[in-house]
């Protein structure tokens, strides 16, 4: 199912608004973000292609199944372990970020711990589904939300308050030395492919080349919207003032004839489901990898223990991290993620070539 691959990548592109990417990019807008984004595109596409190409040699299998018969058990565990920590923390950052957004914009009086419980309930319901069902659900959520995304983007691009001059002004800083942080943040848009580690189970045929062409164009468009539209709305200097540039951007839009006048609410309702899905996908991968690490049979008790550990991490995150700290951590985490991705992709690509050669 070729389209499933596309869904995974698109989901990551959508979620980057929550996971501080616009903020990081805008911070470095005069200091190499533009070049960073431009470099990130070929890197992202390249990794997409190499990794899915390598995994494609094992149709219908996830990484734990592929590596199940390896002799170097500790190496496999290290490999799976590092990915699963990265992926769990990806979900965690999204969860914490979005809880923060919700408590700022929707339910300011509600304690964050309370907000996060309902999220965890929904997430745990989804991550325990079989991989195939998670995919079906993702498909439904994306199709329900696509019209909304299209509508909001259309509204922003046609808005009279979008200042193209500001965008061009930032564009003139093209030839600055690229910033690593900005580049790492921009590659996150493409890193949905890593979900294939588990979701390759549902992809039984060869990925066609048009997938990567679509990803290329979507990625360029996505990075453009994430980065430049807030600048266009708030000005090249003003954009930096906001903690969540895109959410403030959506709040500057107004639907004159709709009963819901502020686009912010439509935007947030749409992101409630998208972030739910993104966290669930990441944590589903983490959960399945954890199950794959322990070779024993699945049992309910262990499952509950893993979920309890997830819950504890989420609660601890809510209690100890504030927005600014989370933002800073995320910027460094992005670099780490890029490193892990590059290493994983290279190792796996070479291994798969040797294996099947």
């Amino acid at each position: 199912m070729n389209r499933y691959f596309l869904y995974l990548v698109i989901l990551n592109m959508l979620i980057n608004v929550i996971i501080f990417i616009p903020k990081i990019l805008i911070e470095y807008r005069y200091k190499g973000a533009v070049m960073g984004v431009l470099i990130a595109i070929p890197i992202g596409i390249g990794m997409n292609y190499l990794y899915s190409h390598a995994l494609n040699k094992f149709p219908g299998q996830g990484l734990p199944e592929i590596l199940a018969h390896s002799k170097y058990r500790w190496l496999v565990n290290l490999h799976l372990g590092s990915i699963q920590i990265m992926w769990f923390s990806a979900g965690l950052i999204t969860l914490l970020g979005f809880t923060d957004i919700l408590s700022r914009f929707v339910n300011p009086e509600m304690p964050k711990l309370f907000l996060i419980t309902i999220y965890l309930a929904a997430i745990f319901l989804i991550i325990q589904l079989p991989t195939k069902r998670v995919m079906y659900f993702l498909e439904i959520v994306l199709y329900l939300n696509t019209p909304l995304i299209g509508f909001i983007i259309y509204k922003t691009l046609t808005s009279e308050f979008l200042s193209w001059d500001s965008i061009l002004e930032v564009g003139t800083h093209l030839f600055e030395k690229p910033s690593l942080k900005a580049m790492a943040a921009a590659t996150y848009s493409f890193s949905g492919f890593t979900n294939l580690i588990i979701f390759n189970r549902v992809i039984k045929e060869r990925l066609k080349i048009w997938n990567f062409i679509i990803i290329l164009f979507l990625g360029i468009f996505n990075l453009f919207t994430t980065f430049f539209i807030p600048i266009g709305f708030h000005g090249s200097d003003g954009a930096q003032e906001y903690l969540y540039p895109w959410i403030s951007t959506s709040d500057s839009l107004r639907l004159v004839y709709s009963p819901i006048e502020r686009v912010l609410y439509i935007f947030l309702m749409f992101y409630m489901s998208i972030s739910l899905m993104s966290i669930s996908i990441h944590w589903h991968v983490a959960l399945e990898l954890l199950k794959g690490t322990f070779k024993e049979k699945e049992n309910k008790k262990k499952n509950w223990m893993i979920l309890a550990a997830f819950t504890c991490c989420a609660f601890a995150g809510v209690l100890f991290l504030n927005t600014v700290l989370l933002n800073k951590i995320t910027a460094y985490w992005m670099i780490l993620l890029l490193g892990v991705e590059v290493i994983t992709v290279t190792i796996f690509f070479l291994w798969a070539r040797r294996r099947t050669a």
Binding site: V106, Y119, L125, R133, Y136, S258, E261, Y265, L276
Partner: protein, 453 residues
């Protein structure tokens, strides 16, 4: 010489003992009949229960020929070649058949089972539950052979396979499993048969009971089988490769496996033009979502995020709520409860009083409640919208489930506001994706079966 022939015709000891056995087991009922007929050359004995056997059939096919055919051998030939006559197999099975209305004939050294079952309730009923404006108007009957005939009539394919089994320790209800051998998914068929074999129940009266039985095994909130009264729906589903169960004595057929799409489909979709049926489908889904989230959304918007709506609308909602002395969720719960009572009452009430109850309840109560300041005007609108849109769902069993889910979403909205509504809705979707009906996922976006991978 004549003595020898006589002795050959006399029943053997084995047959005699079977006869005595059967008589002993059955004769204590008032309606059991044991009849002997004699002519000069031959005699025959018949054992049957007159309340469930058709005596005119016995009269026409056994008694009359018995007196018309003179020689003993000719009559034996007649019996052996008659289509309604089956040879004896074993005592247990014979007894089983006897209490279902066959007549047991003892002739010479033979025992015959003569099918004289009376087929009551074989009149075809009009559809009352799944009505359509156009298309066939008649439903199934309460008789199994008639139903099978109706379906065969609509589905003239040699690949249509009919198997039968019995369910129920006491009722021993005959259940027929129909499927198209060419189209059916063998895995599904196997699961259905396993499920039927695992059903442990005493009295099995109708296919709807299966819904409950499967629930006890996995506590599904939603029905995963479709119960229908329309032979045309059965035929369409057979052509889609589904398995159909017909239950003796019930005018409803059970279609397995069923997914969300089937519950949202009315037979009318086929009988309308393309755009009309698309419009109706969209209408149904919108109604479905409305009845699910509207009460929750009301609570979330009035109590948590009044700034969601543009301020004129927010003000008019708040204005209509000024007289209401309690929080919005109490208001919603009261009105929904009233509505549920009304719905229940109008189902149970005799047809003659039904409209009165709805008028009194719906119009007068609603009007009075707003004037007394107990609920807001907008609340009345919402409750009626929820009630009406709930009935847009064409299959009753499914719309009942939806009625329950809206309370869950309402509860989440009360606790978490807007987040509760949105996440509640998606949790509900995830739950439906999780459900499966005999191996088929209950809800997927593309619900056609993917090509065999």
């Amino acid at each position: 010489m004549k003595e020898i022939v006589r002795s050959m015709e006399m029943p053997s000891n084995k047959v005699l003992s079977i006869k005595e056995d059967l008589k002993e087991k059955i004769m204590q009922s008032e309606d059991a009949v044991f009849k002997e007929l004699h002519t000069k050359e031959k005699y025959i004995e018949a054992l049957y229960i007159k309340t469930i056997s058709d005596e005119t059939v016995i009269q026409d096919y056994v008694v009359k020929p018995f007196f018309e055919i003179t020689t003993a051998e000719r009559f034996l030939d007649y019996l052996q070649s008659h289509p309604k006559v089956k040879p004896f197999e074993n005592e247990e099975q014979t007894l089983e058949e006897l209490i279902r209305g066959v007549a047991i004939l003892f002739y010479q050294d033979f025992i015959f089972i003569f099918d004289s079952k009376v087929d009551r309730n074989n009149s075809v009923l009009d559809t009352t539950v799944e009505t359509t404006i156009q298309g066939p108007q008649s439903g199934l009957s309460e008789s199994l052979p008639t139903n099978l005939g109706l379906i065969r009539h609509r589905y003239p394919e040699t690949t249509l396979k009919v198997e039968s089994t019995t369910i129920g320790a006491i009722s021993k209800t005959k259940v027929m499993i129909l499927h198209d051998e060419k189209l059916v998914d063998q895995d599904v068929l196997r699961r259905v048969k396993e499920f039927l074999a695992s059903v442990d129940i005493q009295m099995f009266q109708t296919g709807e009971q299966l819904l409950d039985l499967i629930k006890k095994s996995n506590r599904a909130l939603f029905p995963v089988m479709l119960v229908t009264e329309r032979p045309d729906r059965v035929a369409v589903n057979l052509a889609a490769g589904k398995v159909v169960l017909l239950v003796s004595g019930s005018s409803f057929a059970v279609v397995l496996p069923t997914v969300m799409k089937d519950f949202m489909a009315s037979m009318e979709d086929i009988y309308q033009t393309y755009w009309v049926s698309i419009f109706l489908q969209v209408l149904r889904y919108v109604g479905f979502v409305t009845s699910l989230i509207l009460p929750g959304l009301y609570v979330a918007v009035t109590s948590y995020n009044p700034e969601l709506f543009r301020f004129q609308l927010a003000l008019s909602i708040a204005g209509s709520r000024t007289a209401v002395p309690y929080p919005s969720f109490v208001e919603v719960v009261i009105m929904l409860f009233m509505m549920e009572l009304l719905t229940e009452a109008s189902i149970r009430l005799p047809k003659a009083i039904g409209p009165t109850a709805t008028t009194v309840g719906g119009l007068i109560l609603g009007q009075a409640a707003t004037e007394a300041g107990l609920v807001s005007n907008i609340m009345i609108i919402i409750v009626s919208a929820v009630a009406i849109s709930n009935f847009v769902v064409p299959i009753n069993a499914f719309s009942f489930s939806v009625r329950i889910v809206k309370y869950i979403i309402l509860a989440l909205a009360t606790c978490f506001g807007l987040v509760g509504v949105v996440l509640g809705f998606f949790m509900f979707l995830a739950y439906m994706v999780k459900l499966d009906s005999f191996g088929q996922p209950f809800l997927t976006l593309v619900q056609t079966k993917s090509s065999k991978e």
